[in-house]
Amino acid sequence: MPGAASTSVSSAPVRAFADPKALMAIRNLELRARVVVEGFWNGMHRSPYHGFSSEFTEYRQYSPGDDTRYLDWRLYARSDRHFLKRFEDETNLRCHLLVDQSPSMSYASLAYSKADYVRTLAATLAWFLHGQGDAVGLVSFDERVRDYLPPRHRHGHLRQLMLALERGSEGRVTNLGEPLRRVAELARKRGLMVLLSDLLTPLDELESGLARLTAAGHEVVLLQTLDPNELAFDFSRPMLFQDLESHQDVYVDPGAARGEYQRRLADHCRRAEAICQKLGAAYHRIITDQPLEKALAHFLRGRRRRNKLVRRHVRAMSV
């Protein structure tokens, strides 16, 4: 598999990344992505452009008319039989960035919201993948799909994607089921699905949605993005908490409710991770006060690990 699959990431100690607060102060989304990606590349030892793009998949018996260039002469020497070596198609990666734009993403205990962070992360991934020559598409959603840009790699597409990312959403709630079902319908060719969401919604539909994507042969990466205060629930005084999606008010004393809240949130995250593991999807939790490069590194490391597993699995099957 070419592109990202062949990209190697340095396992060198974590260097000083760009401060997310300073990064988010950059107004231009594309510029933000560029800063992250170039900073990230500076830390790599190898160029991302020197990967081997052809991957062996299987042997097939020679039949007259086949191209003799692909005959495995070594195997012929060992077994005296003609076999052809088959390789994976030489196509680029088709990546869909699924970005949650629901109102819950607008929560911010920092100077920027989760939505800002996720947009920057998505833009970073898009810039990175596009730089490698991969086709990147965008699906932004709340309770339904708001924007859909099919994966392409051509001049101007990245710009369009950035503009689509910058557009806000008027949605009211988060509903993962419907957007994932719609994406499964839209994305006919297999590819990479990167879901960026806080997953602060009942997970019943997440499982069915992800299952539909993995069944269609897509590789799924789930990046659960949370605000640090959503984890810490660091409020001092009792007050009315208003749900950003339902606008419902609940009087909560944080001192009394913090423990149960954190427990229930942890359960929720664990359940999401379990679903991903079950369906073979990658799961990463990203906190918005972490540097974006770190998130990108998590993503790539996870993908490399997965690709190794896949290759090992294929070889085992072919022997």
């Binding site: 819950s104 993403m105 607008s106 929560y107 989760k114 806080d198 602060l200 919604t201 009942p202 605000d227 959503e230 409020f235 005084r237 009792p238 007050m239 009315l240 908490f241 208003q242 749900d243 950003l244 999606e245 339902s246 419902q248 008010d249 609940v250 009087y251 909560v252 004393d253 009394a256 409710a257 149960e260 809240y261 229930r264 949130l265 929720h268």
Partner: protein, 684 residues
């Protein structure tokens, strides 16, 4: 500090509002948006947690604002220890105007009016001065300020009430305008030095619509006078009344037929009435909607009667439902002419004089040659010189109160004029020149008064070809009624004894002037005949308060009989003025009896109450507080004092200023705190 409206202090309870809001607001204001309440459960507020008030300064300002508002509404005032009732310090002057017109006979209006008047009398303070004026058509002072002040202090109300006992409603109409202006004059008569206190006119009346308001427009009210209206209302509004009109010329053929004008007030609830003579069963049905006035031809008077009572039944009130009618009688008037010319010679005066008095339904004027007796003569016309006997006879007749017209047809009339006036000689001569025109005319004199209207006052086109010029001796009592353009007298009135001699300096025959041919001649002759006093038309219908002229100006005294059988003997020529009862009156003279009817004025039947706006529009200084309590007690008096104190001090204004200041500070402080809280939250 006292309060005029202390119940408004209950508004202080509203202070609990801001306190509660400051407690509630604390939790309500802190609303924290959060991404999801999926993992949060509501926490009930801890019961042990003590609520704390926030922004104490703001709360205090708000409470202070409410406190100021409540106190302001309660109308505070500082009691003055040396303050005494206005009556004691200033001495209130009060004129009680008590309506005694016929309309006050309705229902129990009079007793109500009496009660109100007595209340005002009892409420008068020691230094107050009170006068009572009753009024119907004429105001009649019952007692003056001076009389009130002269009475012993404790007995004033009692003595005043005793005076009131003698008063009862009359049958006369209402002249409210005259009454009010008379009441205002009482203050002027009382003297300006003592008028530092309030000056009130208390008008106790039914304020009927038919009251005359003449004289109020533009009246110069004395400074500080207030008119307090005390209207008395009957239990049941509405009224219908009638009056009988004087028989008109066109129905002269039947003088027994009467025309009745019926009025039904706007607030009446009835519209069907019966109109009939005495107890006659043949009453006619009359339909008259409320608010309308119509004239009906009443059924003929029964033939056996010369007078009668026309009844209107079906109305709410009865005081004005009977109208008295006396059939008019023909009057014969004689004009004695002291000339010898033919009555058919158009060049002579008599020709025109004969035709100047056409016969009417009430009066037949006969122009007769003068005889030796002038007993039945009303006016003597002298066109030429008189002999000594005639002068003697005429002088005596004139001195008895009669009138004569001396026409100076030539310069030879000088001795006659001198003889009649009792002077030795008078310089009389024909005036030179082509012609003369009339110059100054005294239109205030009864003879020319009917011509005073600009439409009729143009005498300038009458040419006098010849006229006689004479000089009025300084010792002669004469009044020049009209002058020629050269200043010479045309018509001069000379008093002779009780009578009058009119001297006309030119004849009305065509050779002398165009007077007989002008449109002024007939009315002028009529006014001269009327002015002569003895020839007033014999009217048979009068209203209460009218002066009835004597049917004859000479002879034996006349006996006048009122409806209550009371008889009054008056000298011939003295008018009868005691027409205070409605009914049939009679006057007996030389064996003959003449009847005339006196009725309640129809305006009294218009009983719909006047609006106070009507009076205000005419400039009457009504008291600003619309509702003056009818019954005043000691409490109300004290309250009046408090109101005056409060009105003088106006402390509420300062409270409102304070409230505005507090509101301003509250706004500024609230704004500052709001900005501060926002800044702190953002910083957090």
């Amino acid at each position: 500090m006292n309060f005029l409206a202390p119940w408004f202090l209950l508004g202080v309870v509203a202070i609990t509002g801001p306190i509660v809001f400051h407690l509630i607001r604390r939790s309500a204001r802190e609303r924290m948006p959060f991404s999801s309440l999926l993992f949060l459960r509501p926490t009930p507020p801890r019961a042990t947690r003590r609520r704390k008030l926030e922004h104490i300064a703001l709360l205090l300002l708000r409470c202070l604002g409410l406190l100021l508002l409540a106190i302001g509404f309660a109308r505070p005032f500082l009691p003055q220890s040396n303050a005494s009732p206005p009556s004691a310090e200033a001495g209130r002057q009060m004129v009680i105007l008590l309506d005694t017109s016929a309309s006050m006979r309705r229902d129990d209006l009079w007793s109500k009016a009496r009660k109100i008047a007595e209340h005002y009398l009892h409420e008068a303070g020691v230094a107050d001065r009170v006068a009572v004026v009753t009024f119907d058509q004429q105001p009649r002072p019952l007692f003056s300020f001076a009389e009130w002040s002269a009475w012993p202090l404790g007995q004033r109300p009692t003595l005043a009430a005793t005076r009131l006992d003698a008063v009862s409603p009359s049958w006369a109409g209402t002249h409210l305008g005259l009454a009010l202006t008379t009441a205002a004059e009482q203050f002027s008569e009382a003297g300006g030095a003592e008028t530092s206190g309030p000056r009130d006119v208390v008008l106790i009346s039914d304020m009927q619509d038919g009251a005359k308001l003449d004289g109020l427009q533009g009246h110069d009210w004395p400074k500080g006078v207030r008119v307090i209206l005390e209207r008395v209302d009957p239990k049941h509004p509405g009224n219908a009344g009638l009056e009988i009109l004087d028989p008109a010329a066109d129905i002269a053929a039947d003088v027994r037929q009467a025309r009745a004008r019926v009025v039904n007030t706007k607030d009446s609830s009835r519209e069907k009435f019966q109109l009939g003579w005495n107890a006659d069963a043949g009453a006619m049905q009359v339909y008259l909607p409320p608010g309308q006035t119509r004239t009906f031809l009443a059924p003929p008077l029964p033939t056996n009667l010369s007078s009668g009572q026309l009844h209107l039944s079906g109305g709410e009130e009865s005081f004005d439902n009977t109208a008295y009618f006396a059939a008019s009688e023909l009057e014969h008037v004689t004009v004695a002419y002291f000339g010898s010319e033919s009555a058919n010679d158009p060049d002579q005066l008599r020709y025109y004089l004969q035709r100047a008095f056409p016969e009417t339904s009430r009066r037949v004027v006969s122009v007769l040659s003068a005889s030796n007796s002038l007993v039945e003569t009303s006016l003597a016309v002298i066109p030429s010189s008189l002999d000594a006997d005639q002068v003697t006879m005429l002088s005596g007749w004139l001195k008895s109160g009669k009138a004569a017209l001396l026409v100076l047809t030539n310069a030879a009339a000088g001795p006659t004029l001198a003889a009649l006036t009792g002077l030795p000689d008078i310089d009389l001569a024909d005036a030179p020149g082509d012609y003369a025109l009339l110059g100054d005319i005294d239109f205030t004199h009864p003879i020319f008064a009917p011509f005073s209207d600009p439409r009729f006052s143009d005498f300038s086109h009458i040419h006098f070809w010849k006229h006689r010029r004479w000089t009025i001796p300084p010792n002669l009592t004469a009044h020049v009624l009209a002058k020629f353009d050269d200043g010479a007298p045309v018509l001069t009135q000379i008093s002779i004894g009780k009578g009058n001699l009119l001297v006309l300096a030119a004849g009305w025959n065509p050779a002398d002037s165009q007077l007989a041919l002008s449109s002024k001649f007939l009315p002028l002759m009529q006014t001269i005949l009327d002015w002569s006093g003895s020839a007033a038309p014999a009217r048979s219908q009068f209203q209460i308060g009218d002066s009835v002229p004597s049917p004859t100006s000479s002879g034996a005294p006349l006996t006048w009989q009122k409806p209550d059988e009371k008889k009054v003997v008056l000298a011939a020529g003295t008018p009868f003025t005691d027409t205070d009862l409605p009914g049939i009156y009679s006057v007996t003279m030389q064996g003959s009896v003449r009847h005339f009817a006196v009725n309640v004025p129809l305006d009294e039947s218009r009983t719909t109450p006047l609006s106070s706006d009507d009076l205000a529009r005419l400039g009457v200084p009504l008291q600003t507080t619309a509702d003056v309590p009818v019954v005043k007690t000691v409490e109300t008096k004290r309250r009046a004092l408090q109101e005056e104190l409060e009105n003088r001090q106006k402390l509420w204004r300062w409270l409102i200023v304070g409230l505005l200041g507090v509101a301003l500070v509250e706004i500024m402080l609230g704004g500052w705190l709001s900005r501060r809280v926002t800044t702190v939250e953002v910083a957090a």
